[in-house]
């Protein structure tokens, strides 16, 4: 203002700008990105690549759910449904267009975005006006409807059997481009990199969203809706905007997921277990943190990969007891209990707890003048 001594606010801002590229958070992100890029070259194991690709997709899906649940404070049970809409867009377009070409993929992506945006606008415009509870109920009903539709509209979706399809050109699983530095270049690898690029872009988009003016207003609305209204913010619009944005990203994640599997069926991309998985991931990672999505997705997906081994363990320990084997088979039960415990006792999740610590440090520095 006066141009002389900088205010404490300006000093703090300069400090933050100066250490922008040396912050631990930034360095961790950089290292993570490097691992994701170099991973398939260094560790040519399909099991690992499969796991990492799924973690990337779910990290973004969970982060986008966090925009709705953590930042906006409304609960949408339709997030899994939007994931499924995206997945089915890709699957159906690729399945029914012969021969499948690159522009079909692009078209599928656009279709996924368009459909999910329209559906999200309709659902939220209808039910967000009332109470958050209503929104939860309406989304649950609509999501279940879509799940049933996936089963019943078998002339289009092939019902329970699901849709398998082939990807175009270099993304096709059969395509092979020789090897580079000892790594097989094939369709799978290229799809992996496509997922990497799109997931990173989407994630950056999500982070930008929370750090934009809208993100700030959402935080304010979550904190004190009445005050936000009196400041001149039309709360309803912000809720709709964030719901639509989160749902749209979710549908694109679904599209990536379908590309990775080359197959979709109603239970894997539209069912309740998917929604519960996303909920669990977001709770474990931490609500309202966005980055928590990465941790949550990694934790659950890794656990999912290793938990079937539990079954073998149970089989060897109690070979005769059927009950124990059934128990081991139902590892979702363990997730459920873990989930309830974390909602009750660990509501901020991993990233949220870490952030609280950082906040305490910041206050120690700035709080008492």
């Amino acid at each position: 203002m006066t141009g002389q001594a900088p205010t404490p606010v300006q000093m703090e801002r300069q400090r933050q700008r100066a250490r922008r590229y040396t912050r631990p958070g930034f360095l961790i992100q950089l290292a993570l990105l490097a691992c994701l890029v170099a991973g398939p070259m260094l560790m040519p194991s399909f099991r690992v690549m499969d796991l990492v690709a799924k973690i990337m997709i779910f990290a973004v899906a969970v982060a986008s759910f966090d925009i709705i649940l953590g930042y906006t404070g409304i609960i949408s049970f339709a997030h899994g449904m939007f994931f499924g809409l995206g997945a089915y867009s890709v699957a159906l377009i690729c399945h029914y267009s012969q021969p499948v070409q690159y522009h079909h993929l692009l078209l599928a992506g656009l279709l996924a975005a368009l459909i999910s945006a329209v559906v999200a606008v309709v659902i939220s415009a209808l039910s967000l006006r009332v109470k958050a509870i209503f929104f939860a109920m309406v989304t649950l009903a609509v999501a279940e409807f879509c799940h049933i539709l996936g089963y019943q509209w078998s002339s289009l979706t092939k019902g329970e059997d699901g849709v398998s399809f082939k990807l175009p050109g270099v993304f096709n699983a059969d395509w092979s481009g020789g090897s580079l530095w000892g790594t097989q270049i094939n369709g799978r690898l290229l799809v992996y990199y496509l997922i990497l690029v799109v997931a990173v872009l989407l994630f950056v988009g999500l982070v930008r969203f929370v750090r934009s003016p809208v993100g700030r207003v959402l935080k304010a609305i979550r904190d004190n809706e009445q005050r936000a209204t009196a400041l001149g913010y039309r709360v309803f619009r912000y809720r709709v905007l964030s719901t639509v944005f989160g749902s749209l990203v979710s549908s694109l994640c679904g599209a990536l997921f379908a590309m990775w599997l080359s197959y979709v069926n109603p239970d894997t991309v539209l069912g309740t277990p998917l929604m519960l998985n996303i909920l669990l991931m977001v709770i474990i990672g931490g609500l309202g943190t966005v980055y928590g999505g990465i941790l949550g997705a990694a934790f659950i997906k890794i656990a999912e990969t290793w938990l079937p081994d539990l079954q073998k363990l149970a089989l060897s320990l109690w070979p005769k007891v059927e009950f124990m084997q059934r128990l081991a088979e139902r590892w979702i039960l363990l997730f459920g209990i873990l989930y309830i415990l974390s909602v009750l006792f660990f509501p901020k999740g991993v990233v949220g707890t870490l952030r609280d610590r950082a906040e305490v440090r910041r206050l120690r520095r700035l709080g008492r003048p």
Partner: protein
Amino acid sequence: MDLSVTATPLMETKDLCVRFGGHTAVDRVNLVVEPFTLKSIIGPNGAGKTTLFNLISGQYRPSGGGIFFKGQDITALDPPGRTALGIGRSFQLTNIFPSLTVLENVRLALQSREKIGLNFWRHYGSLSHLEDQAYHFLEMVLMAPRWAVPASTLTHGEQRKLEIAILLALEPELLLLDEPTAGMSLEEVPAILELIRQIKATGQRTILLVEHKFDMIMALSDSIAVLKEGRLICDDTPRAVAANPVVQEAYLGGGVKNA
């Protein structure tokens, strides 16, 4: 200021009514607020003061009558729309964003005024000028040293000051202050009154104030309106109001408040 000119008032209510069930909380109130003045509304508890405020700021819908701001009919406008026109309000119960920092609280008001709320592609870092302005408003209410802490850690008096800073940051033409000293300790009250006096002294703001402590606003107000059982029974200069026998009976008389 030439008060003899009969220009349109800044804000005006015409036969404003609101009924809740069978109870008429605000009954045909015609209130006129002239620009750049400070008008206080007093009345016993339950006289409809806060209800009237909620009607003016748009929280409640009137059952009858109309509200006009600078000659424009705003009866059907929602609260955000009224804020955009230049009506800012504070609340009787402290109403801030508790988990956000003090600076952030004020910055959100500035962001609303600049109408960049629905922008989701711009990075907040590029809006540093808002931070600087917000800090300036905190300096005005003597809250600058506390800019970095979460608002929930402030004392009650500090939170009231923060609220006024938020209100000022909206730069409204009409400030609605609902019992700005409510719930404050006696030592904190003079600072708030001084703040209101300063805002008034700039000569750029119109203030409508609700208070039920009469002596507190006698010196401060240009005019005082008295509400009783939802009706406007008197609207005059502080001295005239104090001398008005009806008011004395209804409100000041003998300490008997229930009518």
